[in-house]
C-alpha cells in the first residue's frame, strides 16, 4: 500500500469530519498485485518484439525521409521508448488512447498501419489524418486512437472527457492518456486529474518520464523526481516503474487498466523511459551528459532487453529472428512505397473539414461568393 492509501480515512470518519485528509469513500483501494492477463507466451512476446522493431524501423525510415525533405515540419521520434506503448497495448487494445506529438509508436501499437503513419508523415491523402495533421496529429478512429496533440498537456483533459463518456455509457472501457514529464507541469494536467478522481473516471494517465522536456532535464523543471507523486495530492491511486522491459509494462499497465475498468477510479502511472534521439529532428541534443545516451542504449534499449529474453529464455533461434526482421523490413519498405505513391490532398477539399468557413465576400483568390446583393441595391437606385 502506498502513502495515499494509508492516509485514506474510513467512510464514517470522512462523513464525521469534513476536514479529514481524503474524502474518497472508504479510502483508495490498492492496485491489484496481479493483472488479469495470462502468463506471457513465447509467441506473444515474439509478437511484441516484432511490433517494437516495426515501430523503430518505421521511424528510422521517417528520419531518413525527413533529411530528404519528404517529411516536413516537426517530427518527434519515439525511438527508445517503444516498450511503453507496445507493452501497454496488450491489455488495452479495445480501449481509447490519446497521446502527445511523439505518437507514431502509440498509433502503431494501437493498430494503425505503418502505411497510414508513413503516408501521414508524407502529408498524403491516404495518411491516417488525410495529410492534414502530419507527424504530430495522427488520428485513427477505426482503432480508437484519438490523436496526437501539439499543445503540451492540453490533451489530458480530453482523455478525462473520453473516460467520462465511457463511464456515462457504461462501456466498460478505459481511456489511456500518454504525456511526458514536461506535460506534468501544465495546469490542464492538474485540473484533468482532479476531475478524473472526483468523478472516479475509468482513466489511466501515463507519464512517460524520459528525463527531458526538450532541452530541459528533469531536475531543472521539477522539484519532484517521481511524477506519479502528483497523484497523492489529488487522492489518486498511482504506480511508478521502469518501462524498458515490455513484459513489465504489459503487466503493470494491465493492473492499472483492470483497476480503472472495475470502477475504482483513475490511476496515474509514471513509466521511466529514455528517448535515443533529440527532442525533434531539429534538436542535436547536446545537453545530455557525456556517456548517458550510450549507457541507455547499451543497458536499457527495449529491443535489446526483449531480444535477450527471447533467445535466452524462450529459445528463439537466429533463423526465426532473421525471418522476423525481414518481415519488418518488407512491411516498412511497403509503407514507404505506399506513402510515395499516395496522392497529395485535393485542393478542392480545403474547406471540407471546417464548419462554417467565412470566406471573403469579394471572391479574391477563391470561388465567387454564394450570396447575391442586387435586389436591395436596385430598389435603392430605383
Amino acid at each position: 500500500m502506498d502513502a495515499a492509501t494509508q492516509r485514506g480515512p474510513a467512510q464514517a470518519e470522512a462523513q464525521a469530519s469534513p476536514h479529514s485528509a481524503v474524502h474518497t469513500q472508504g479510502g483508495l483501494l490498492p492496485l491489484p498485485t496481479q493483472s488479469s492477463l495470462p502468463a506471457i507466451t513465447r509467441d506473444e512476446l515474439l509478437g511484441l518484439y516484432r511490433q517494437m522493431a516495426l515501430i523503430r524501423r518505421v521511424e528510422e525510415l521517417a528520419a531518413k525521409a525527413y533529411t530528404q525533405r519528404k517529411i516536413l515540419g516537426f517530427c518527434h521520434l519515439y525511438i527508445g521508448q517503444e516498450s511503453v506503448a507496445v507493452g501497454a497495448a496488450v491489455a488495452t487494445k479495445g480501449d481509447y488512447w490519446m497521446a502527445a506529438y511523439r505518437e507514431h509508436g502509440h498509433a502503431m501499437a494501437k493498430g494503425t498501419s505503418a502505411r497510414a503513419v508513413m503516408a501521414e508523415l508524407y502529408g498524403r491523402r491516404d495518411g491516417a489524418s488525410r495529410g492534414l495533421g502530419g507527424s504530430m496529429h495522427i488520428f485513427d478512429r477505426e482503432h480508437d486512437f484519438l490523436g496526437g496533440y501539439g499543445i503540451v498537456g492540453a490533451h489530458v483533459p480530453l482523455a478525462a472527457g473520453v473516460a467520462f463518456a465511457a463511464k456515462y455509457r457504461g462501456e466498460g472501457r478505459v481511456a489511456l492518456c500518454y504525456f511526458g514529464d514536461g506535460a506534468a507541469h501544465q495546469g490542464a494536467f492538474f485540473e484533468a486529474l482532479c476531475l478524473a478522481q472526483l468523478y472516479k473516471l475509468p482513466a489511466v494517465f501515463i507519464c512517460e518520464n524520459n528525463f527531458y522536456a526538450m532541452g530541459t532535464p528533469l531536475h531543472r523543471q521539477s522539484a519532484l523526481a517521481d511524477m506519479s507523486l502528483r497523484a497523492d495530492g489529488i487522492g489518486m491511486q498511482r504506480d511508478a516503474f521502469e518501462g524498458f522491459d515490455v513484459e513489465l509494462v504489459r503487466e503493470r499497465v494491465a493492473r492499472a487498466a483492470d483497476y480503472a475498468r472495475a470502477g475504482n477510479g483513475p490511476v496515474m502511472l509514471e513509466i521511466v523511459t529514455y528517448r535515443h534521439r533529440g527532442h525533434s529532428m531539429s534538436d542535436p541534443a547536446k545537453y545530455r551528459p557525456a556517456g548517458e545516451l550510450e549507457q541507455y542504449k547499451e543497458e536499457s534499449d527495449p529491443l535489446k532487453i526483449t531480444l535477450r529474453r527471447l533467445t535466452e529464455d524462450f529459445g528463439v533461434t537466429e533463423a526465426e529472428l532473421e525471418a522476423l526482421q525481414a518481415g519488418v523490413e518488407a512491411e516498412c519498405e511497403d509503407a514507404v512505397a505506399f506513402a510515395e505513391a499516395s496522392p497529395i490532398p485535393d485542393p478542392a477539399d480545403l474547406y471540407r473539414y471546417t464548419y462554417a468557413p467565412q470566406q471573403t465576400t469579394m471572391g479574391v483568390g477563391e470561388a465567387a461568393p454564394t450570396f447575391t446583393i442586387p435586389a436591395l441595391r436596385a430598389q435603392k437606385e430605383g
Partner: protein, 325 residues
C-alpha cells in the same frame, strides 16, 4: 551600421536594456541553458546569470502570471513564449491580469512587461502550431501589440517595448529570425505607435505588418512591371494604431488592400477597413479588400498550406480587382 540577424537584433535590445535596468529579467522555456529554442537569448544566461535569465517548466499560465505579479511590485519581466501558440494556455493571465490591472486598481498597480515570442505560421507545423494571435491580443484595451519586419525595427521596437510602462505583446516570426539587416550602431529607439511607409506609391496602399510586409513588397514589384504603383505601409504597431500614417497614405492613393496572416473573420484587417471607411468614405474609390489566411485551421500538407497562406499572387489579384485592371 552593423549587419545583424533579426534574432541578434532582438538579443541586442534585451541585453542593452538589461544592462541599464536591473529590474528586467527574462523568463521562459529553454531561454537559459538551451540558449533559446530559436537561439534568440543565446549567451544571455552566461552574461546575466540564473537570477535574471530563468528557465521554466512548461507552465505558461503560471509563469505569465508570475511575470504580472512581479511587474505589479516593480520588476520589468520579459516573458518569452516559445511560440505565441502556447500563450493561449496563458491567455487569461495576459488578458484578465496584465491588460486590466492598471485600470481595475484605479491606477495603483500596473504591469510593465513584455510578452514576446514567434507568432503565426512557420512551415508545415499544422493546426496547433501555426496560429496568428494578432487579433486575439489587439482586441483588448490595456495592451500594446507590436511587431516588426526587419532587424532594425526589431531592435528599435523591442527597446521601446522594454521601456514602456504597460504590458506589450511583441510578435516575432520564426521564419525570419535568421534574416539579416542593417542596424544602427548607436542606441536607437522607435516609439510605439508609428507606422512606416516602406515604399511610396500612387495607385493603392497595401496595409500590412510582420513578415507579410515582404509578401506585399514582392507583389508591389510584380505590379510595377505593369505600371501599377503601390504604396506599402508597415503598421508595426496594431495597438496603438498610427492613424495619421494610415489615413495619409490612403487619402493619397484612394484605394487600399489590407494584407495579414491571421484569419479574415474578425481579424485586425476588419478593424482597419472599418476605420478607413469611417474616416475616408468620401475619398475611397473602391471597397477596401483584404488578403489573409484562408478560413481553415492550418493543414500540414504543403500544397494545402500554400493555398492557405497569403501570397504575392493573391495580393496582386486583389490590387487588380481594386483598380479594375
Amino acid at each position: 551600421m552593423a549587419t545583424l540577424q533579426i534574432r541578434e537584433a532582438l538579443r541586442r535590445a534585451m541585453v542593452e536594456e538589461m544592462r541599464r535596468d536591473d529590474r528586467i529579467f527574462l523568463m521562459g522555456e529553454e531561454v537559459g541553458h538551451y540558449n533559446g529554442a530559436y537561439k534568440v537569448s543565446q549567451g544571455m544566461l552566461e552574461e546575466f546569470g540564473e537570477q535574471r535569465v530563468i528557465d521554466t517548466p512548461i507552465s505558461e499560465n503560471g509563469f505569465a502570471g508570475l511575470g504580472v505579479g512581479a511587474a505589479m511590485v516593480g520588476l520589468r519581466p520579459i516573458i518569452e513564449f516559445m511560440t505565441w501558440n502556447f500563450s493561449l494556455v496563458a491567455y487569461d493571465q495576459v488578458i484578465n491580469s496584465a491588460a486590466k490591472i492598471y485600470q481595475m486598481s484605479g491606477g495603483q498597480y500596473s504591469a510593465p512587461m513584455v510578452f514576446r515570442g514567434p507568432n503565426g505560421t512557420a512551415e508545415n507545423l499544422a493546426a496547433q502550431h501555426s496560429t496568428s494571435v494578432d487579433s486575439l491580443y489587439a482586441h483588448f484595451p490595456g495592451l500594446k501589440v507590436v511587431t516588426y519586419c526587419d532587424a532594425a525595427d526589431a531592435y528599435g521596437l523591442l527597446k521601446a517595448a522594454l521601456r514602456d510602462d504597460g504590458p506589450v505583446c511583441f510578435l516575432e516570426s520564426e521564419l525570419t529570425y535568421g534574416m539579416k539587416g542593417e542596424v544602427p550602431d548607436e542606441e536607437h529607439i522607435i516609439p510605439l505607435g508609428q507606422a512606416k511607409v516602406r515604399r511610396a506609391g500612387r495607385d493603392l496602399s497595401l496595409i500590412t505588418w510582420g513578415k507579410q510586409v515582404f509578401t506585399c513588397e514582392a507583389a508591389a514589384k510584380q505590379l510595377e512591371a505593369d505600371g501599377i504603383d503601390v504604396e506599402v505601409v508597415d503598421l508595426r504597431s496594431l495597438r496603438p494604431l498610427d492613424h495619421q500614417t494610415l489615413f495619409a497614405s490612403v487619402a493619397k492613393t484612394r484605394r487600399a488592400v489590407v494584407v495579414h496572416e491571421g484569419h479574415l473573420f474578425a481579424g485586425v484587417g476588419a478593424e482597419i477597413v472599418a476605420r478607413l471607411q469611417e474616416a475616408l468614405f468620401d475619398v475611397l474609390e473602391a471597397p477596401v479588400l483584404r488578403v489573409t489566411s484562408r478560413d481553415v485551421p492550418q493543414p500540414y500538407a504543403s500544397n494545402l498550406e500554400k493555398l492557405v497562406n497569403p501570397d504575392a499572387a493573391r495580393v496582386v489579384e486583389a490590387v487588380r480587382k481594386s483598380l479594375g485592371r
